[in-house]
Symmetry: C2
Subunit: 189 residues, 2 copies
DNA sequence: GCACTGATGTCAGTTACTGTCATCGCGTAC
DNA sequence: GTACGCGATGACAGTAACTGACATCAGTGC
């Protein structure tokens, strides 16, 4: 008999999502989460840097999708084309990774709390920097790459919000294309 | 004789900036800040919602500059033209408000700490939403306005970073123009 | 069998933040 | 000029996030 059940991080994340959905983020203590997952509070903090981080598990997968698409793109593409490829890969990855209902539940929790929105913005900025670095590696000038990275995240965030609000009746990839097109339209008007 | 010295918020902010610069954000306790400002810890939290907020005092002025420029702009301007006007007003306001050295010192403190960067991103997102709302009030379609607001903040943040890194030898307004121009260039390439 | 590793439990401690009540200078009404 | 209320503060107790140090114990390699 094993001394402890494996998969503590997953159990903790699930317990946290349930409790946040039931009582809200602030009304849930880390001790509550740990108890439901069958571990101690100290173990929670061994797996997650802080209470908020438990909701941002696996964002590195999304980052890999973005960066990989840029790195693997054929030669001779413009910055905006590289960004489009990255967004498409990210949209596909997000739709496959956890499923639509999970994304929606998670979004509802985050939207209900300022501290969580703050963390999400930090993660989004991290993605933007990763895209920027990938673009620089492809020869895009740093100042240009930074703006392109921010632009990519603006389009992705806008598309994601519409996706969630639409009840997922729309395809995320289509929404990303629309957002990119709108951005182009704004800049050239 | 007054029972307490006036201007507690200002004294607290100055004490916090000094201590953060000397020891760093995490190594400074709220009790330290309060002691240097000559008040108690409890008074600190009466003026600032949390320890980080003390560094973000007066961002509403910047927001007013952005929003006012959009609201007061002449009729018939495109979304990108309204955004440009807002950015110009913001750049001017920032250069006049506190001075360059203050902006640089503050930026150094924030750059050295993740939690503070997180808060800054939240403030920036708040500005983006304010710009979005002002654009909607001017008749821009919501989805378009959201992207334009994010675009504005991307340009402003990029220009601000270059301004700080350049040692302020360059004019912020010029850098904002360059960033806007680069954005247009990316979108149309 | 035995040392070693790795995930966990235990426990004490710091600090951010909050709720509540007391204090007291100052202006205002009367 | 005195009573009254207001507003900013102090005092103090309490909660919960997070950290460091040490103990525990199943499995693993030798």
């Amino acid at each position: 008999m094993a001394r402890w059940q494996p998969g503590a991080p997953d159990r903790l994340q699930q317990a946290a999502m349930e409790l946040f959905a039931e009582r809200g983020f602030e009304a849930t203590t880390v001790a509550d989460i740990a108890a439901r997952a069958g571990v101690t509070e100290r173990t929670f903090f061994r797996h997650f840097a802080d209470k908020r981080e438990v909701l941002f598990f696996g964002q590195d997968l999304l980052q890999s999708a973005f960066v990989g698409a840029i790195t693997d793109a054929p030669e001779g593409m413009s910055a905006i084309a590289l960004v489009s490829a990255a967004l498409e890969a990210g949209a596909k990855g997000l739709q496959e990774a956890r499923g639509q209902s999970h994304a929606r539940a998670r979004d509802a929790i985050i939207s209900a709390n300022h501290a969580l929105q703050e963390r999400e913005l930090l993660k989004l900025a991290g993605l933007a920097r990763a895209v920027t670095a990938a673009l620089v590696a492809r020869g895009v000038a740093p100042a240009r790459a930074r703006l392109a990275g921010d632009l990519a995240m603006a389009a992705f965030a806008a598309a994601f919000q519409q996706w969630v609000e639409s009840g997922q009746t729309r395809d995320l990839t289509d929404l990303v294309h629309e957002a990119t097109s709108t951005l182009r339209d704004i800049a050239t008007s």
